[in-house]
Each structure stands twice: as C-alpha cells, then as structure tokens.
C-alpha cells in the first residue's frame, strides 16, 4: 500500500493546513499601528547613537570552554554531519511523499526556518553544527598533521564578497518552490531531488573550502553560514577568540554588512519570502499570464512554469532592491550625507529585522505544525516507508488544533510590527552616527521611514485577504 505512493506527485503535500488570510479589519489595524508607531518614533528620536557600540562582556571561562572547546566542536560537528547524512539517505532511499520523508521537513523547515530563530535567540549556533565546516576543518587538520604545513589557499577575490551567498540563497529557494513541477503545477521539491541537490551543494562547498579556506568561505560564500549568521547579529550572544560574549541587543547588526554583496543577501531574503507569499495571491494573475504566454509560444509546460516563477523571483528581488535604493538615494540628498557608496551598504542591516519578521510571519504556523512531524513520525520512520519505528512514534500525527487562526493572525501582525520598530530603531541610530547634525539625521530618516512602512505594509498585505 505504502509502496504505491512512491512514484506519485503530491501537490503542496507539506502544507496540510494553510493559514487563513488576515481579515480586512485586522489588516487595517495592523497598518494603522505601523503608521502611528512610525510617527511616534520620529518625535521620540534620540540624538546620540546607542547601538553602534556593542559593549561586549566576556562570559565565564568555564562556560566558554565547555561550549566552544574542542570536544564540543567535535560533538556538534559530528551531529551536523550525521544529520546531513540521514537527510541525504532518507531523500535517496525513502518515499517520494514529501510529508513522510525526513529529508524535506528537516532541510526546509527544521534547519531553514529553525536556525534563523535559534540564531536570534542563542547566537550563531549554526557555526558549530555546520557539517561542511566540520568536514573541512577535519580534513584541513589531517592535511596539516600529515604534510607538516598549512594548505596554501588561494586569495578570495574581495570584490565578490557575499555575492556567492546571495546567489546561493536565491538558488536554494528556487529549488524549494520553483523546481518541483508536476502537470503544470508547482508542487515543491521531491525528496530525491533535494538529496541530490544536497550532495551537489556539498561537493561545491567542500571544493570552495579547499580553494579559499574553510572560515573564509563560511564568512562569504557558504549560503547557510552567511544567512543564519546574519540573523544571529540581532541577538545578544556572540563569540570571539574562544570566549563567549554578551553584547547589547541589535548592536552587532550594524557591523554585519561590511562585505560587498551583504545588501543583496538581505534583499534576497525579503524578496524570496515575498514571492512565496504572493505567488498564489498578488502575483498569481501575472504568473498565469506569463505562463500562458510561454505555453502558447510553444514551450513545454514544466519549463514555462519554471521560467515564469524564476522571472517573478527576479522581479521580487528587483522590486525590493528598488524600494531600498530609493530610500538610500533619498537620504543622500539630505545635507551632510555620506557618499552613496557608503550609504548603500550602511543601512542594509536595518533590513535584517524586516527579513526576520517576514520569515516569522509567513512560516511560524508551518514550523509549529511540521516540527510535530519532525519529532514524531519522521524521527521514528525517517524513510517514510513504514519499515522502522525507532522511537515508537511512527504512527503519531500532527495536531493542527494547537494554533487557532486568531493566534496565528496576532503573531503575524505582531511580528511585522515589532520587526518594523526594530528596523526604524537601527536606521535612526545609524543616521545619528553618520550625520553630524541630529536634525539632518532625523530629516534623512523620513526616507527610511517610507521604505520601512512600504515593506511592513506590503508584508501585511501579503498575509491579508486583500492578497486574493
């Protein structure tokens, strides 16, 4: 019976319960609160920067050693490699039903949606668990021991900065929601394809680590390190030189976008979430129009749909970038403004809370539902073939009643409003640091205020029933 499922397509199988759209009245309230909060922020503005200095304090030596020492690193790295192995194995050998296969929920929900949240709260926790970093360091250590010298890496071209990560992020989401097409419908990636992609990505990442060095690549090109690391900048925990550190909340974000391409990473994050939120609403008509045009033009249906969705992701990226560029351009017209090339990356970090709010609002319910599967039946029966029951939970299900629609709506609106406020705080703070006169600083922020209001209201719109 279960064998039968393996070759069959599944439309949206992972999302068994979709969120109801936010009702119009709550959408209106949410947007109004955003505007009121924004004007309040303008009047209550401070004159000296408060978040430029991280005010780091080192935490206890014992704690640092326990959490960052070599034994912990080996254990965490081992866990990371093991779990990646389980996901790839399940993807290759397990069922093609995405909701029954460990690979899909683990890679696209537990890791992809979980780590941004863990990172904000706990710091850059992906770093020790990063399987490629662990392998890279083990291999590097082995080489050093055998050859008696360090491997000579090539110099990373500085101009590339984090562009490889930005492109990788777009590619990841493309794989997740565009690649999997069945009968002219986007159905999400299948486990086998996901496993193959994971292997291809592993080979690519390890190669880049050999060429440029493990830490160098993690800081710039490795998609997951860069992406999760970005969110960890919002939180209060960091580490340097083997010591755990406590820092002022949000303060580390301002020193994140120092490499070229960082702005593209955060824009890619907002753009991909926007695309996912709008593909069956705001962009649906446009997508169908382009798709039909391509099909009429004689293209294959699968290819047409992939091309169309690719185009719309690109348009989302361009649209988000445009709004940000308008804001920066506007700021540059205010008296005493730094040059544009400094301003452009200088306010990129103010988009990180917006990106996080988008993620949280869009995927919070999916995460709550899907983690029940992750720690229930997927843990006991990772292949989804009903051949194992490792922890006795193989027949467990998902309780979709744990969240009411009202709870989901308030979390969504709350996340976007809070993200908006934090973005305003960061932008205002940077302006006070970069403009000599606080009045000019405030004036420059009318522009960023407009940008933030646009993003937040668009985010609300995507979740509301206006996005039909």
């Amino acid at each position: 019976m279960i064998r039968l499922f393996e070759t069959l397509p599944y439309a949206h199988a992972l999302v068994a319960r979709q969120d109801l759209p936010i009702p119009a009245w709550l959408f209106a309230w949410g947007a109004s609160i955003v505007l009121i909060v924004s004007f309040f922020a303008l009047s209550a503005a401070w004159r000296e920067p408060r978040f430029e200095d991280e005010q780091r304090r080192s935490l206890g030596v014992g704690l640092s050693r326990a959490l960052l020492g070599m034994p912990a690193q080996i254990i965490c790295g081992g866990v990371g490699v093991f779990l990646l192995g389980v996901a790839v194995y399940a993807g290759l050998r397990g069922t093609e039903a995405p909701d029954r296969n460990f690979a899909i929920t683990f890679l696209f929900v537990t890791v992809w949606l979980g780590f941004p949240a863990f990172s904000v709260v706990l710091g850059n926790v992906f770093k020790p668990f990063n399987p490629w970093r662990a392998i890279g360091r083990a291999v590097g250590g082995g080489f050093e021991a055998l050859a008696g010298q360090r491997f000579a890496h090539a110099r990373y071209p500085e101009r590339l900065g984090r562009w490889p990560a930005a492109i990788g992020l777009l590619a990841f989401v493309w794989l997740e929601i565009v690649y999997g097409v069945s009968g002219g419908v986007a159905v999400g990636v299948e486990p086998h394809s996901a496993a193959v992609a994971a292997l291809v990505y592993s080979a690519y990442t390890l190669t880049m680590m050999v060429v440029f060095g493990v830490e160098e690549w993690c800081e710039r090109g490795e998609v997951f390190s860069v992406y999760f690391g970005m969110f960890s900048r919002l939180g209060i925990f960091g580490a340097e030189g083997g010591r755990l550190q406590h820092r002022k909340p949000l303060s580390a974000a301002g020193h994140w976008a120092t490499l070229p391409g960082s702005t593209a990473v955060v824009i890619a994050s907002i753009a991909t979430t926007s695309f996912d939120g709008g593909q069956e609403g705001a962009f649906k008509g446009g997508i169908e129009r382009v798709y039909e045009w391509l099909v009429d033009g004689g293209l294959d249906r699968t290819l047409s749909l992939r091309l169309t969705n690719t185009l719309f992701i690109a348009l989302c990226f361009a649209g988000v970038a445009l709004v940000y560029l308008i804001g920066v351009r506007g700021m540059s017209t205010v008296k005493g403004a730094p040059p544009l090339r400094k301003l452009l990356p200088g306010f990129a970090h103010t988009l990180i809370p917006i990106a996080f709010a988008y993620l949280f609002a869009h995927y919070f319910s999916l995460f709550v539902f899907q983690e029940q599967a992750q720690f229930g039946y997927l843990l006991s029966d990772p292949l989804g073939t009903a051949t194992t029951d490792l922890f006795g939970t193989a027949s467990s299900g998902i309780d979709f009643k744990v969240l009411s629609s009202n709870a989901i709506w308030y979390v969504q609106v709350g996340a976007l409003v809070v993200g908006h406020v934090i973005a305003l705080v960061l932008a205002h703070d940077r302006a006070t640091a970069w403009w000599g006169d606080y009045r000019d600083a405030a004036r420059s922020q009318y522009w960023m205020l407009a940008v933030m209001v646009a993003f937040t209201c668009f985010g609300l719109y995507l979740l509301s029933d206006a996005n039909g």
Partner: protein, 147 residues
C-alpha cells in the same frame, strides 16, 4: 562612478517595478482570465444530486457533489467554506477508482469507478485545506474553515 552605478540600478529597478505593476493591474482589468474556480460546490442550492431531493429535510442545505471526469474535477477545484463547529458535507462522484484524501483532517475514503462517496464531518480545525485524488495527486476541493 558609484553614483552612476546606483543610477543604473535605480533605472533597472524602475523598469522592473513598471513591469510588475503592468502585470498586476492588467490582470485586475480582466479578472475572468485567471480561471476562477466556480464550481458545483459553490452553486450550493442547485448543485445537489437528484437522488437526495426526496430525503432532504426542507431546512437542510443541499449537499454539493464534486464530479470527477477523466481524473479531474469538472468545473475546476471546488470551494467549500464553513465556520468552525459546523459540519462539512460533500459528495464525490468519480469515473475513476481513487482514494479521496482531505488533508489536515486526514480523512481518506475510497471511491470505485463510477461510484459516489459522501463526506460528513465536523469542522474542528480552522484553516484552508485541500482534498485530493491521492493517487493522481489532483486537487479537487479547497475547504476553508473560518473561526
């Protein structure tokens, strides 16, 4: 030079935004092209099967029937919207033997080729759910349960 780059980027962005606007707005004009899924289920009062008419109590609304022809729902994906606590009732008449699976509620029923199967369950979970022909992976119903 940097300023020129930015200007070029703004230009590209403006074109992109114009394209998006054009597509979105154009669609608003001709909404019928999106293939709105008007179905037997939407037309609740008239959509009932003849056989039921005699047994129905007058107050009870007719049960919509989703007709499957050639492995696809006739008239597109059906839509049913109820409030939490009400009952979800619909029938499926299919020309192919299939398993009909209501996701989220996780209710599955077999239907034989040419047969009809009825669903009647309480709407206890809020949200939007799909019902599929499980083996073909074809969605036949979008069930909305409002709070």
């Amino acid at each position: 030079m940097q300023s020129n780059t930015a200007r070029v980027l703004v230009g590209i962005g403006a074109v992109a935004a114009a394209v998006i606007l054009l597509l979105v707005l154009k669609d608003d004009g001709g909404d019928d092209s999106t293939g709105d899924a008007t179905t037997a289920a939407k037309a609740k009062p008239t959509g009932a099967g003849k056989g039921d008419a005699g047994q129905q109590k007058p107050a009870k609304p007719a049960v919509p029937t989703i007709v499957i022809r050639g492995g696809k729902p006739v008239g597109g994906i059906a839509e049913i919207s109820v409030d939490e606590g009400e009952r979800v009732r619909f029938k499926v008449r299919s020309d192919v033997a299939e398993e009909i699976h209501v996701h989220g509620y996780d209710i599955a029923k077999e239907v034989s080729a040419g047969g009809t199967v009825g669903f009647d369950f309480p709407a206890t979970i809020e949200g939007i759910f799909e019902a599929e022909l499980e083996h073909l992976g074809e969605q036949i119903l979008e069930l909305t349960v409002n709070p």
